[in-house]
Subunit: 164 residues, 3 copies
């Protein structure tokens, strides 16, 4: 409804999953919506934080558990795997090859595109604390750090709200 009223076109996406295929779906929807004049907010939480972490996460600080979580959760959009048929990396490599062949943007390219289009990316402070992450562990595209109240406030004002 209200297609003519640009101020009303808002979308939020909770990015909970850290898998390549789900991340691609999230960024494809986000950048498409932004290109149509929609104000898009992506809220990264739990495993979704890995998508927007720097490639070298902070390892070596904090207690042994935080360090361990950091080692397992090595960040970076380049390292994500498929949720199905990863086949020890072969499936993921194949998907990336096919994406290149069909001239589709990679996830890293979609991230840059999203930032340039003004898609707001927020990292969830509650799960950041759990995973021993701080603001400096994230790529510059993430400009806001906030909790669930910020997400809920945004969602109540948006037409489209997805949990991926």
């Amino acid at each position: 409804m209200k297609m003519g009223n640009t101020a009303d076109r808002k979308m939020t996406i909770v990015v909970f999953s850290g898998e390549l295929d789900r991340a691609l779906a999230a960024f494809n929807i986000a950048t498409t919506a932004a290109s149509m004049g929609t104000e898009v907010t992506m809220f990264f939480t739990f495993w979704g934080l890995n998508i927007v972490k720097k490639e070298r996460g902070k390892v070596g600080e904090g207690n042994w558990m935080k360090r361990m979580l950091n080692i397992i959760n090595r960040g970076g959009a380049r390292r994500l795997k498929l949720s199905k048929m990863n086949m020890a990396g072969a499936g993921t490599a194949m998907m990336k090859y096919l994406m290149g062949k069909h001239r589709m943007p990679s996830l890293q390219e979609m991230l840059i595109l999203a930032e340039e289009m003004g898609v707001k990316m927020i990292a969830c402070t509650t799960t950041m604390a759990l995973m021993g992450l701080s603001e400096k562990d994230f790529i510059p595209a993430v400009k806001e750090f906030a909790g669930a109240a910020t997400y809920v406030g945004n969602a109540l004002e948006s037409q489209v709200n997805l949990f991926i």
Copy 2:
């Protein structure tokens, strides 16, 4: 809101997952909403494409990678498995047996029902290309083939938008 205005009752469902349980949830919500006068659009993408593929997907055309993806992704609602407790097929068989015993419609029956009720089923052209699929690989219930812009346009006009 606006329960009295039928024109406003719209729902979209992105069907990303190709698992039996998630497909059942998606079609149960879709057919229930349609029976209540809601205009429902299902947008099949990634593994969700398998739900609406013909049982014999095209194998043998395209390059070796597309063929391989096609063999692994054998289509057909009848072949889907549970996301949990598949137990080498026993869990899935048990679920199907219990559904029959409780006189619940099978997924194939729900697909027919959804089509009869006017649920619009769209296959995502972007992921179709990735998986080496063309329009003739899908069951006739899928009448539209489109990309994310069509989905976003629909979602912005809908009250309920789910990602399953």
Copy 3:
């Protein structure tokens, strides 16, 4: 939109997954929204039913298949595992330890909080039948038992609808 109109602030969450991390995300969003004056309805279906089952589910009644499903699906928020990095329980234990250390409420505490805040919890009767569950198998916070039509009716009246 309509932030000033409290009657319009409604949210529904379909809780399909029975994993600890997804359950935490669902209850974090639900309790935050409730604290902001939003009327929240959680609709538990499929594996999500395990979150609100009593710790000792009914075992021993029904046919062998229902009994088997009941044994595998041992209920109780305390027993849920992470969707990733469960590592034979070590990852789940670590997550719980870190939550306690950061003074975050456990899932059991969030359940109590949600009930006190008036979050409506509905168990899906269709999937209850499939899993051989009856009303007495659930914790008292679950006060309503209903099917998809109740969910769809709620969702059409809500601003935010999530499928987790």
